[in-house]
């Protein structure tokens, strides 16, 4: 079964990761604490491309793991369900507050949370800061949105959020920015695919 | 704060010193001294910046109707044109009472 990008994977063995370069110390330290990785876009086989997060914003490390090393997987929508377990002190952070407001307005979609919020929600490790963005992932939209509908949705969500919003629409492996689609700056839109970014006229196909 | 200066050609020299008003919020004071030119001068210090043309309009109207000649000093703490007019007409009243 294909794992969609942004799925969190808990590893059975945190030492069994494969990379082209040597593994930096912070990656080992990070895995020591959490032993979670995030599915990256890319060709999946026995090996799954993943990313490892550090505790700093720019710390990302690309690697692969074996399918057999997966203990469990968590979809972005699983993270959403955990919001009720967040302690009040953390819940007061603007990104969580924004998520609370927004969640009542996306019921027509299958969707979830990515980024540091997803990580904190699943692992319980405090990753979200005062300045964290809110990364939303809309998965498999039932019907394609028109530019106007997307624009309306975006405006609504931006109003409700007090932090910067990054909304990606995921169509299997393909993904594009809702904002770019809604604002319709160019005729074509950049879609990230398994084989790299390409420009498309209609990203919903 | 902004300093403004205006000059109007006028024809009715005043003979008295006049003072009215207070530099309170939304209000202003006017000090009028006799001069012996053929025009009036106005030195204005105002707490609200960017209203030069409004001042000009208020004063033009006033001097059109009442060409009082003298040197005016105005200290303004955010008076509206309506209040400026009211204080100017009080100056007139004081002149009337004393003449």
């Amino acid at each position: 079964m294909e794992l969609i990008p942004h799925t969190l994977i808990k590893l059975k063995n945190k030492d069994l990761i494969y990379a082209d370069t040597s593994v930096p110390a912070w990656v080992k330290k990070s895995l020591e604490i959490s032993s979670y990785s995030v599915v990256r876009r890319g060709f999946q086989s026995e090996y799954i491309p993943v990313g490892i997060r550090g505790f700093k914003k720019n710390q990302r490390f690309a690697a692969c793991i074996k399918k057999s090393n997966i203990e469990s997987t968590y979809l972005p929508s699983d993270a959403l369900k955990k919001i009720d377990t967040v302690p009040n002190t953390r819940l007061n952070l603007p990104a969580f507050q924004s998520l609370l407001k927004i969640r009542n307005h996306l019921s027509m979609f299958e969707w979830g949370v990515g980024g540091s919020l997803q990580f904190e929600l699943i692992t319980g490790i405090p990753m979200v800061t005062e300045k964290s963005d809110l990364d939303l992932l809309i998965t498999c939209p039932p019907v394609p949105l028109s530019h106007k509908e997307a624009n309306q949705l975006l405006k609504k969500l931006q109003f409700l959020s007090t932090v910067h919003l990054d909304i990606q629409v995921l169509n299997h492996q393909n993904g594009f920015s809702l904002e770019e689609f809604a604002l319709q700056r160019n005729k074509t839109i950049l879609v990230k695919t398994m084989v790299g970014p390409i420009l498309m006229d209609d990203p919903w196909i | 704060m902004e300093k403004l200066y205006f000059k109007f050609t006028t024809t009715q020299p005043v003979t008295k010193f006049v003072h009215v008003g207070v530099v309170a919020s939304g209000d202003l004071e006017i000090i009028l001294r006799p001069n012996n030119h053929s025009y009036s001068t106005l030195n204005i210090i105002t707490g609200s910046d960017g209203f030069k043309s409004t001042w000009s309009n208020v004063l033009s109207r006033f001097f059109d109707r009442y060409p009082l000649q003298g040197d005016f000093e105005i200290n303004d703490f955010g008076a509206t044109p309506g209040v400026v007019n009211l204080r100017l007409s009080q100056v007139m009243e004081v002149l009337k009472n004393e003449q």
């Binding site: - | 704060m1 003072h19 207070v22 309170a24 209000d27 004071e29 105002t46 707490g47 200290n75």
Partner: protein, 554 residues
């Protein structure tokens, strides 16, 4: 409800009180004198600087009315307005000394020091207070508070020095406005949005019930006129600044940890059993106490180690012919608001008590004991109980004691090795006839803490600091303060905590030379505006006003 004094502006109030067609304004709007300090700070000035001086007759009695305009900059006292008041009072004194009765009236409508010219305001207020204390020997000095702003800050201390205070029920008096107390001590101490609390605590009715004002009358011009005339003719004087033993007895019965209700305090006030108080000289002890610059120099100059006093916040001692006195911190004091060396209820009255005793002891002596005030006062005490009891009266008691001592011939030197802020400085330092300071950057000298000043003037702390950097009028540091000319001497090579023999000698020499400089000099505060720096730059406007007043008075 139709002949209201409150409704009128300051000028109209003065005219309304005087007999018809007798009012004559001195240094008025046509004299072309505005504050030189406001325009550079982008503030619109007023042609009278918010102080109106009006001579005339009230029921055929010669009066001079000093009326403060509350709606111009909150009635704050700056250099020009302050100098107008001082010079008018000086002439009134002179006339009375010459046997010509002139009755001074002050209409208070003021928040105290004008923060944009804070240092001038503080100096002026101390000079005003000096004049009032001397004038009271000749005529009643009457204060009116019609209301709106009321009387706050340093000018509340001035009200307590008046012979007699007449108000409407719309007047409020307090040393620290509720906003300032909230800023300094928190909303739990004083909630500035609770209007009922404010009016019940600081309002005229409560003040009347507890001896802070003398009469509350209807807001009616005629009522004011007849009450004033009666006060003058009956020579009424509450001697409010000399109730030291009464208040020290009262304060002893008060539990500082409990916020008193107005009713509780009124009861307390009505049932005081008064007894005499005398504070013994400080003695050496074995217990080192927390140090402060004030305590440090008291111990250095008196050579009393770990000085101990029955009132732990007030140290005094007569050493080598000089009376030294200092207010010091006491971290365990039962009054929480004086633990950092602030001047509180007890401190003002205790200092007054010490000085009154000294005046009494020396009253028949030809040579009076010089007094050295060691100044290290971070502020007055900001507290609810303090305001309810009327801390401004405590500060007034010490102002009065120092001023009377000086006027009686005691030479008074203030030595400033520490902070000299606000009401604390007025009560303990500014009534001296010579100021000496250490040139130490740790010294703060000002009318209000920066945080409070920022809040009251609606500026950010940054904006405030920017403004103070450019104007000595608002300086917080001793170096800029010196530019005003009010210091007799700035000791440049001694620091606040120096304890070398060298440093002590320099300070002692400075004190000695200040005292010998006072030989055969006036016993007033004129040195501050008569010296070279003051005349050339520091107090130019003050001196201009004084000259003009000399010309216009008669």
């Amino acid at each position: 409800m139709n002949n209201s004094l409150l409704e009128l502006n300051a000028r109209e109030r003065a005219v309304a009180l005087l007999d018809k067609d007798t009012a004559q304004e001195l240094i008025g709007p046509f004299d072309n004198i505005i504050s030189p300090h406001l325009i550079p700070q982008n503030i619109v000035p007023e042609s009278d600087d918010g102080v109106i001086i009006m001579k005339g007759q009230l029921k055929h009695l010669n009066c001079v009315i000093i009326s403060i305009e509350g709606s111009f900059q909150g009635g704050g006292i700056g250099e020009v307005g302050g100098a107008k008041i001082v010079s008018a009072l000086e002439h009134t004194l002179l006339d009375n000394k010459n046997g010509e009765k002139v009755y001074p009236l002050i209409i208070f409508d003021t928040g105290g020091v004008r923060l944009q010219e804070a240092n001038y305001g503080l100096l002026s207020i101390s000079e005003i207070q000096n004049m009032i204390i001397e004038l009271k020997q000749y005529v009643p000095v009457i204060g009116l508070i019609p209301g709106r702003v009321g009387s706050f800050g340093g000018m509340s201390i001035t009200t307590a020095l008046m012979s007699y205070i007449i108000t409407t029920d719309k007047a409020r008096i307090g040393l620290n406005g509720p906003e300032v107390i909230e800023q300094e001590a928190g909303a739990r101490e004083f909630d500035s949005s609770d209007k009922n609390l404010i009016w019940n605590t600081l309002g005229a009715k409560q003040r009347k019930a507890t001896g802070i004002v003398d009469e509350v009358i209807d807001d009616d011009v005629d009522a004011f006129r007849s009450t004033i005339a009666k006060t003058i003719l009956e020579k009424k004087d509450s001697n409010r600044d000399q109730q030291v033993n009464f208040y020290l007895s009262l304060i002893e019965t008060l539990d500082p940890a409990h916020m008193l209700t107005t009713q509780e305090y009124t009861n307390l006030y009505r049932h005081v059993s008064v007894h005499d108080h005398h504070l013994n000289s400080a003695i050496p002890s074995d217990y080192p106490t927390i140090t402060s610059r004030g305590r440090h120099w008291f111990e250095q100059l008196t050579q009393i180690k770990n000085a101990h006093s029955d009132i732990p916040t007030v140290l005094h001692a007569l050493v080598n012919g000089y009376e030294y006195i200092s207010i010091v911190p006491d971290k365990n004091n039962n009054f929480p608001r004086v633990r950092h060396g602030e001047v509180g209820l007890k401190e003002g009255y205790t200092v007054a008590n010490v000085i009154n005793d000294l005046i009494d002891r020396d009253k028949d002596k030809k040579t009076k004991t010089p007094i050295v005030i060691i100044v290290d006062v971070p502020s007055q005490a900001y507290g609810y109980n303090e305001e309810l009891v009327g801390i401004h009266m405590s500060l007034a008691a010490s102002v009065s004691a120092y001023a009377r001592a000086r006027q009686a011939g005691h030479k008074i030197i203030s030595f400033i090795p520490g902070d000299a802020v606000s009401g604390g400085f007025l009560a303990h330092g500014l009534q001296s006839n010579r100021l000496i300071a250490l040139n130490d950057s740790s010294i703060t000298i000002q009318a209000m803490s920066k945080e409070s000043a920022a809040r009251i003037t609606n500026r950010s702390l940054q904006e405030l600091e920017q403004a103070t950097k450019n104007t000595p009028a608002m300086a917080y540091d001793i170096k800029n303060y010196q530019k005003l000319g009010s210091l007799f001497y700035l000791i440049s090579n001694v620091k606040s905590y120096d304890s070398s023999d060298y440093a002590i000698n320099i300070v002692k020499n400075a004190i000695n030379s200040a005292i010998s400089d006072l030989e055969n000099k006036p016993t007033d505060l004129s040195f501050r505006y008569n010296n070279k720096i003051a005349k050339e730059s520091g107090r130019v406007a003050t001196n201009k006003i004084r000259l003009l007043m000399d010309k216009q008075w008669n």
